[in-house]
Symmetry: C2
Subunit: 207 residues, 2 copies
């Protein structure tokens, strides 16, 4: 079925060492796939990928210092021949668009069956695209991010409970302006509060 070729050279990036190691074990069971490098943060992937001549990079989105989206963008810029397969815990519609904007070839959520992972790697390596079907539909429905940049900034500050005065100081704005941005964001998300709005934006992957 397969030509007798060298195994696909894969890099794994996930901040949780346990699942990173487990995914490596899972993929190494496949004879045509070989995990040649692992990273615990996005800032390491570009260098590791170059060093080990990686063909497919499997990146988690949530990582502490540099997230998977940023890492993907840098990686694609330096090694356009290296494919990226994004893996994430949360099925936020906004993430899908962001992933492909960053140059990813595939997108999986972590509750897809484990048997599908190896196939996804093969498809991506062969030049194909892999998208979680349920998420794809959801993403097309939802439309794209309606929030302006300022509204996003203000919301993400409000998320952690900062009062308006503090946000205004941090952004070098007047308190009135901050409240206007917040009010706009609340309206666009259909929420009643800043905090409901922040949650809604977070769930959509807008923030």
């Amino acid at each position: 079925m397969e030509l007798k070729e060298d195994p696909i050279r894969v890099l794994l990036a996930d901040d949780q060492a346990l699942v990173r190691g487990a995914l490596a074990a899972l993929l190494n069971l496949e004879p045509d796939i070989c995990v040649v490098a692992q990273a615990g943060d996005g800032s390491e992937v570009a260098a590791l990928a170059a060093e080990h001549r990686v063909q497919v990079a499997l990146l988690d989105i949530q990582m502490p210092i540099m997230d998977g989206l940023e890492a993907a963008a840098i990686l694609r810029q330096r090694m356009p021949e290296c494919k990226v397969l994004m893996v994430t815990t949360f099925d936020r519609p906004g993430y899908l668009r962001a992933a492909f904007d960053a140059g990813a070839s595939g997108f999986l959520v972590k509750d897809t069956p484990s048997a599908a992972l190896a196939d996804a790697v093969r498809q991506v390596h062969a030049g194909g695209r892999v998208v979680d079907p349920s998420l794809a539909a959801q993403s097309l429905m939802g439309g794209s991010n309606p929030l302006t940049e300022r509204e996003r900034e203000v919301l993400s500050q409000a998320q952690s409970g900062a009062p308006v005065a503090q946000i205004a100081a941090a952004m070098h704005l007047s308190v009135g302006t901050v409240r206007n941005h917040l009010s706009n964001a609340i309206g666009k998300t259909g929420a009643a509060n800043r905090i409901e709005a922040a949650h809604a934006a977070h769930e959509q992957g807008w923030i």
Copy 2:
């Protein structure tokens, strides 16, 4: 090194199918460990454990319908000889106490090296206790949950952005009482807002 015994019979419970499968692959690499059952939710574990005569149950805390803590309590009640090893993404100090209160014999966070997992299973099976050392120290320092039950209820409602009036209606209380509980919780957590308080409580595993 090991006596020639039957392999340890392990059950895996995690809501994310991908990491569940990956952990299974990792553990099945060990000759003396055998994953005999998997569950995607806590409500399934007790029945599965009984059916497959499981010796060690590896439970994630975060699961949709019934969480790992509840599942552990039920499991320990019905099969006292079955050990529980808790695995979680977040290192909230409060979780550790809750896990042992539920009858767990071990507690691991998901960013421990994957090589340590098999050893933890063996130790727990042998009747020992396994605790993430960094978390243990953190837990002893933090002390235990200072929030009363009502304060926790009120906080968890406030977390999602509900206004006081709505919380009061949901709990059949007067708005003044809700604000008192909130004010107390804010004081105890050293926060400035209800939302900061909710975050703090959440990070401590108090909520």
